[in-house]
C-alpha cells in the first residue's frame, strides 16, 4: 500500500501523469482512488500525457482504470495521450479499449412498489398453490385409473423401493418417538389424576388419545419431515438436471414413473407406521403406568379393553392413508415446482414440510368434526 501508483506534475499547459508499480487487482482499490483524486484536482488541464513506462505489471483491473481515465478526459474535451506503454501491455490495453463498458446497474425497484408486489405475488402464490395441489391430486388419480386398466404398467419395483425408504427404514425412529410420547402422556396423566385419586383413568386417556389422535399425528408429522422433504429434494434435483424432461422425451409420463410409486408407498406405509407407532405409545404408557403409577399390566389391559372399542382404533387408522396422500401430493407438487437454482430447491423443500404438516393438522380437525357428526 505504501507504494504510490500515480504521480502528477504540471508542465506548462500540459499535465503529466506518471504511473508506477503494479497496476493489478490487489492494488485496484488504491489505484482507483489515486486516479480519481488526480482527475479531480487537475480538472482544468487541457492536455494530459499519461506515462505508463514505469508500470511494471498490468492486468485487466489496471488497464480498465487507465481506459476509464482516458475516456473521462476525452469526455471533458481534454486531449489525452498514453506514452511509454510497454509492448507486452499493448494487447491488453487494446482489448479493454474495445470494451463498451458503461456501468449497467443492477435493477432495483422502489421500496413501496416492491413491498406491494411481494404481497400480490404471495397472494397469487397461494392461489397457484391450491391450483397445483388440485391438479396434482387429479393427475395422480387419473394415473391410478389408467393403471387400473393396464395394471402391468404399475411400477412395482419402484414402489417397493420407496416403501423400503419411507416405511421400513422409518420404523426404529417412529417406534422410539411414539414410545416416548406414550410415556410422557401417561406420566402427566398420573401426576394430575393422582390429586383426585383417579389414576386408573390414565388408561382411558392414554388409550383414546393415542389411538384416535396422537399415533396418526405424530407419525404423519414425522413422515412429512422425513419422507416428504426427501421426495421434494429428489424430484427437485431431477427437475433441475432436466432428468424429468428426459423421461418425458422418452415417452414416459413422469407422474406414473416418479409420483405414483412415491405416493402409493406413502399410502401403504403410513397406516403401517401408525399402527406400530400406536402400539409403541400404548406400550410406553403401560410401562409408565406400572412403574410410576403402580397400575399392574393386567389391570392396565383389562381397563384398556373397557375404555376403547374397535371404533377408537378405526378412527385413527382411517385417517392415516388420507394424511399420507396429503403429504405425498404436497411433496411432489413442491418438487416439480423447483426452478433452476439451489436456492429454489431449498425453498421448495421447506415449503413442502411446513405445508404438509399444516395440512395434516387441518385435516385432522376436519376429521374430528366429521367423526363427531357421525357419532364415532
Amino acid at each position: 500500500m505504501a507504494e504510490v501508483l500515480l504521480t502528477a506534475a504540471v508542465q506548462g499547459a500540459e499535465l503529466r501523469l506518471a504511473g508506477a508499480g503494479a497496476w493489478v487487482a490487489h492494488n485496484a482499490r488504491q489505484l482507483e482512488a489515486e486516479i480519481e483524486e488526480a482527475a479531480r484536482r487537475y480538472r482544468a488541464a487541457g492536455r494530459v500525457a499519461i506515462d505508463m513506462g514505469r508500470v511494471e505489471r498490468l492486468d485487466t483491473f489496471g488497464a480498465w482504470l487507465l481506459e476509464r481515465l482516458v475516456r473521462g478526459l476525452a469526455a471533458r474535451g481534454a486531449a489525452a495521450e498514453i506514452v511509454g506503454l510497454k509492448e507486452e501491455h499493448r494487447a491488453l490495453i487494446e482489448v479493454v479499449h474495445a470494451v463498451s463498458a458503461e456501468r449497467v446497474r443492477a435493477p432495483r425497484g422502489g421500496r413501496l412498489a416492491e413491498a406491494l408486489a411481494a404481497i400480490g405475488a404471495s397472494i397469487a402464490a397461494v392461489g397457484g398453490y391450491v391450483g397445483n395441489f388440485v391438479a396434482m391430486l387429479g393427475a395422480f388419480m387419473a394415473a391410478l385409473a389408467r393403471l387400473a386398466v393396464h395394471p402391468r404398467a404399475f411400477r412395482f419395483t419402484a414402489t417397493v423401493h420407496q416403501l423400503d425408504n419411507v416405511a421400513w427404514r422409518a420404523v426404529p425412529i417412529i417406534l422410539l418417538i411414539t414410545f416416548l410420547i406414550g410415556c410422557i402422556v401417561a406420566q402427566q396423566g398420573i401426576f394430575h389424576f393422582r390429586k383426585f385419586g383417579a389414576e386408573i383413568y390414565v388408561v382411558d386417556m392414554v388409550g383414546i388419545l393415542v389411538l384416535r389422535e396422537i399415533g396418526v399425528l405424530i407419525v404423519s408429522i414425522m413422515v412429512a419431515g422425513r419422507s416428504g422433504s426427501a421426495y421434494t429434494a429428489e424430484l427437485g434435483t431431477m427437475k433441475m438436471r432436466e432428468e424429468i424432461d428426459a423421461l418425458r422425451t422418452m415417452g414416459f409420463e413422469p407422474i406414473e414413473v416418479l409420483v405414483v410409486p412415491r405416493i402409493v408407498a406413502l399410502v401403504i406405509g403410513v397406516p403401517i407406521l401408525t399402527f406400530l407407532g400406536s402400539m409403541a405409545a400404548l406400550y410406553g404408557g403401560g410401562l409408565v403406568a406400572w412403574l410410576y403409577g403402580g397400575i399392574a399390566p393386567d389391570i392396565f389391559l383389562s381397563r384398556l379393553r373397557e375404555a376403547i372399542t374397535l371404533e377408537t382404533f378405526e378412527v385413527g387408522m382411517i385417517k392415516a392413508p388420507f394424511m399420507a396422500l396429503v403429504i405425498g401430493v404436497v411433496a411432489c407438487v413442491a418438487g416439480l415446482n423447483v426452478k433452476g437454482s439451489a436456492e429454489s430447491l431449498g425453498l421448495q423443500t421447506t415449503a413442502s414440510v411446513v405445508e404438509s404438516i399444516f395440512l395434516v393438522i387441518v385435516l385432522d380437525g376436519l376429521f374430528a368434526i366429521f367423526f363427531a357428526s357421525i357419532g364415532m
Binding site: 492486468d59 482489448v95 463498458a101 449497467v104 443492477a106 439451489a342
Partner: protein
C-alpha cells in the same frame, strides 16, 4: 523431465498417485507446465484427466507424490499461503459450476467482492468488461444461470474463472457440449485471452481441433501414466500405438486436413 528452454515451471507434478478404494486412477504421474503455454491434456474417457486436474487444485486427496504450483504445495502449505496461491489460478469446471442462485453479475463479482474491496461502480464496469472479453454483452448480466444456453454458461464460467486476473487457468473440457462453430469460437477466445493476459492454460480436452489450433504442447494420459508430452508434430510423428490410434484415427484426419486459421478473433 528437462526444462529444455521452455522457461519457468509453474506446475510441477511428481510421482502423483491417486486412487479410490482399490481402483488406482493415476500411478506415479509426472508432469510439468511452463509459464505462458497452453497445455492440452488428452486421454480416453474415464482415464483420469479430471481426477488429475482436481488433484492439482487440491480437491482430491493423493496417495503419494507432490504437486507444486508456483513452487508451493497448496495442500501442505498453511492457509494464508494456500489462499494466496488459489487467488492466482482460475478454474472452469466441466459443468460450469456457476452458482445457481446468483445472477451472472453476482457470479462474476463474487470472487472480486470476497478478495478485493472495490467500489460498486468499478465492480459493475469490470463485470461488463469481462463479459465482453468472453464474447457476451451486458444483456446477460442480470440473468440467472438456468436462463443461459450451454455455450453462454461456459463463457460466463470462463469469465468468472478470469475474474481475479489469474496467472493459470484450468479448463476441464471447455468445448465439450458446444457445436463445432461455438467450439471454434471458444478456442479462438482462449487463444486471444491467453495472449493478451499472458495466461498459462491447462486444458483438458477431447477436441482434436482445439489441440491443433490453440495448444502449444500436448500431454497424453493413458494406462494411469502420462505416456507422452510434446508438440502436436511430435505426437503425429510418434509410433506409440495409443497415440497412433488417437491422432491418426478417422476423426483426427478430418481435423488435420482442415485446420482452422490459428489467429481467429471473433465477436
Amino acid at each position: 523431465m528437462a526444462t529444455d528452454g521452455h522457461g519457468e515451471v509453474v506446475i510441477a507434478v511428481r510421482g502423483l498417485t491417486v486412487g479410490f478404494g482399490d481402483h488406482i486412477v493415476l500411478d506415479a504421474v509426472d508432469l510439468d507446465v511452463y509459464r505462458g503455454e497452453v497445455l492440452g491434456f488428452v486421454g480416453g474417457s474415464g482415464a483420469g484427466k479430471s481426477v488429475l486436474l482436481r488433484t492439482i487444485i487440491g480437491l482430491l486427496p493423493r496417495r503419494a507424490g507432490t504437486v507444486r504450483v508456483f513452487g508451493v504445495d497448496p495442500v501442505a502449505a498453511d492457509q494464508a499461503t494456500r489462499r494466496a496461491v488459489e487467488r492466482r489460478w482460475g478454474v472452469l469446471f466441466q459443468q460450469g459450476a456457476l452458482f445457481s442462485s446468483l445472477t451472472v453479475r453476482e457470479n462474476l463479482q463474487f470472487p472480486v467482492r470476497e478478495n478485493l474491496r472495490l467500489s460498486p461502480r468499478l465492480m459493475d464496469e469490470l463485470a461488463v468488461a469481462k463479459l465482453q472479453m468472453v464474447g457476451l454483452d451486458a444483456s446477460v448480466l442480470d440473468k440467472f444461470p438456468s436462463e443461459l444456453s450451454g455455450g453462454m454458461t461456459k463463457r460466463v464460467a470462463l469469465a468468472r474463472a478470469l475474474a481475479l486476473d489469474p496467472e493459470i487457468v484450468f479448463l476441464d473440457e471447455p468445448t465439450s457440449g458446444l457445436d463445432p462453430i461455438g467450439a471454434a469460437d471458444f478456442d479462438a477466445l482462449i487463444a486471444t485471452l491467453q495472449r493478451t493476459l499472458g495466461l498459462t492454460v491447462f486444458m483438458v480436452t477431447h477436441d482434436l481441433d482445439s489441440l491443433y489450433t490453440v495448444c502449444d504442447r500436448i500431454a497424453v494420459l493413458a494406462d494411469r501414466k502420462v505416456i507422452a508430452t510434446g508438440t502436436m508434430a511430435s505426437m503425429l510423428a510418434s509410433d506409440h500405438p495409443w497415440l497412433r490410434a488417437y491422432f491418426h484415427g478417422k476423426r483426427s484426419r478430418a481435423a488435420a486436413s482442415a485446420p482452422a486459421p490459428p489467429t481467429v478473433v471473433q465477436e
